[in-house]
Symmetry: C2
Subunit: 330 residues, 2 copies
DNA sequence: TTGAAAGCGCTAACAA
DNA sequence: TTGTTAGCGCTTTCAA
């Protein structure tokens, strides 16, 4: 039972300074003489001292904790954000408390509990939570700094917005360049406000190419495989079906792919398919899916850094169009 | 700026009792008269009081936090464990602090930091961290309760073990029943101690069916797609290649699938393929992969519950063999 | 069954 | 530039 962890008092005694001086060194405050600082740091090192988070939080104004409530994740997306954010936190002496929450009122309660009991110094939100007005309002009311990834600009907190419109447009231009004129689209989840830009990007590319937008080629989607299957089934049953289908995320694109396989359609010769997200499954699909990569881990890192008062990394907004065999004629 | 959160003192005043009595109600201690308890609960409700975690931690012996350092996750696995554990925590007034860590010495340092600064009431570990002796030793030295998921029994903490051997055996029996005699195997990652049982299950099924184990059919694997590709390439280049390949996880099986597609082999007619994990990608692959489902979310839930002193849920150990089109003759 | 006092390990405000 | 004092919001110990 080795339970005796050294406290700040132990460090102070060993370094021969006051408690407060140790605190100053720990918090990198100004006005500490270098010799004193070195002495304190040596004592910290020698004792293996680690500050007690709870004590710092109780006495001070910070908790050194970032809260990350998330909902209904694509697991790849969530873990990437989580890894990025947790890494940024660790580098700065912070920790991340993540909690899965539902979208309804019980989720609201969970977020409120998280904030009021843990008292995080900031809240990180990703879609779809990032665009729920009640959630934003709750965080505002509890007066906690907020950064939302891929959220619409709102009147509270900072939002890291993404050029979904531009990349979506680029992807559709690629399909047009491959010779497609009838291009189906499976819409983003209606709750994901920022992802709606993927639809306007689609429209814009068609218009610029002088192709009329055929509304029957636009199907609803909910970011899951099943809605991809439904959409593909509807599209491929049209009298004049599309020769390419662009789904607003990979899961739906994989649903489209499944339908194409079931109908024994050659891909991309008879039907080209593209997604959005660069999920692991999109890489592993057969044929591999054309898709768009976001720097998700970096988004998490940047969001956490912003919560801690730093400026956003400009690399954060760089998408990348990944053209793979599902749309490229051999 | 609504920053004034009610404290326990406010509740005490409103209920007309002492601070300590409120504390007793909060902690469900005995010897509180029902009328007093009701009065306090009403005051808590009326004020919307939430206990301050840091204060409870500093004053008491618990932190109401479970630590979950994880490494190199399959993201689906990690999020499932995370969701299960976080849900269990929330139901009990706890929170989960999760942190990605590396396998080397910097990872050890990160875990030590996590424990000494956050002071969690328990640590949850999954493979491969769950089987690193230094990590177990570190947690033991810091005197924190430990539960490991899918870890080998060790001399500290509790381990939730999994019948990998049995299910693996069942899967190979299925392949044999489908008429296969030459069955290739892509081994588990050598760091995942418990997963090694998937190899013994494979061997055992062959032996029981009176089939000689051909060591050339057993290839090394590291749980990633690339090792599946290498293994499949090696196996399919043999003079007498196997008619079925069982990979010890889905990612490797998807690598095998890719090679089969590239060689234009009909699946499962020319080559049957099976994996392990029921990853989303295994469902979405073409053809869908035969695999094994573990109740991962439940594992996380059970692990957290065990850390909080509860008994394991017996459902936790139930695997399920999912036979899909990649091995089943139409 | 309830309450009073002390103090957890640190930071804030002030004084030196 | 450093130290002193008070106190964060709760639990612990002990007394009533």
């Amino acid at each position: 039972l080795e339970n005796d962890v050294p406290t700040m008092a132990d460090v102070a005694e060993r370094a021969g300074v006051s408690l407060k001086t140790v605190s100053r060194v720990l918090n990198k405050e100004d006005h500490v003489r270098p010799t004193v600082q070195a002495k304190v740091e040596a004592a910290i090192e020698a004792l293996g001292y680690r500050p007690n988070l709870a004590a710092r939080q109780l006495a001070g104004s910070r908790s050194f904790i970032i809260g990350y409530p998330f909902n209904n994740p694509s697991s790849a997306y969530i873990t990437d954000v989580l890894m990025g954010a947790a890494t940024a936190c660790r580098d700065r002496g912070y920790h991340l408390v993540s909690e899965p929450v539902s979208l309804g009122s019980s989720g609201m309660e969970a977020i409120e509990r998280l904030i009021t009991t843990v008292r995080p110094d900031g809240i990180l939100l990703t879609p779809p939570l990032a665009d729920v007005p009640e959630v934003i309002e709750l965080v505002r009311r509890l007066n906690v700094p907020l950064v939302r990834i891929a959220g619409m600009p709102a009147d509270y907190g900072q939002a890291i917005t993404i050029d979904d419109h531009g990349v979506s447009e680029e992807l559709v231009r690629h399909l047009i360049a491959e010779g497609h004129r009838k291009i189906g689209f499976v819409r983003p989840h209606p709750d994901h406000a920022i992802a709606q830009a993927r639809l306007t990007g689609y429209r814009s590319a068609l218009v610029h190419a002088g192709i009329d937008v055929d509304e029957t080629l636009i199907q609803p989607g909910y970011f899951d495989v099943d809605s991809g299957i439904s959409a593909a089934t509807a599209l491929l049953s049209l009298d004049r079906p599309p020769t390419a289908i662009f789904a607003a995320n990979d899961d739906m694109a994989l649903g489209v792919l499944q339908v194409a396989h079931q109908r024994n359609l050659a891909i991309p010769q008879q039907i080209a398919i593209a997604g959005f997200d660069d999920s692991p499954a999109s890489r592993l699909a057969w044929p591999p899916l054309t898709t768009v990569r976001q720097p998700t881990k970096l988004l998490g890192e940047t969001a956490a850094a912003m919560l801690l008062g730093e400026k956003p990394n400009p690399e954060t907004n760089k998408h990348q169009l990944l053209i793979r065999a599902s749309t490229r004629q051999p």
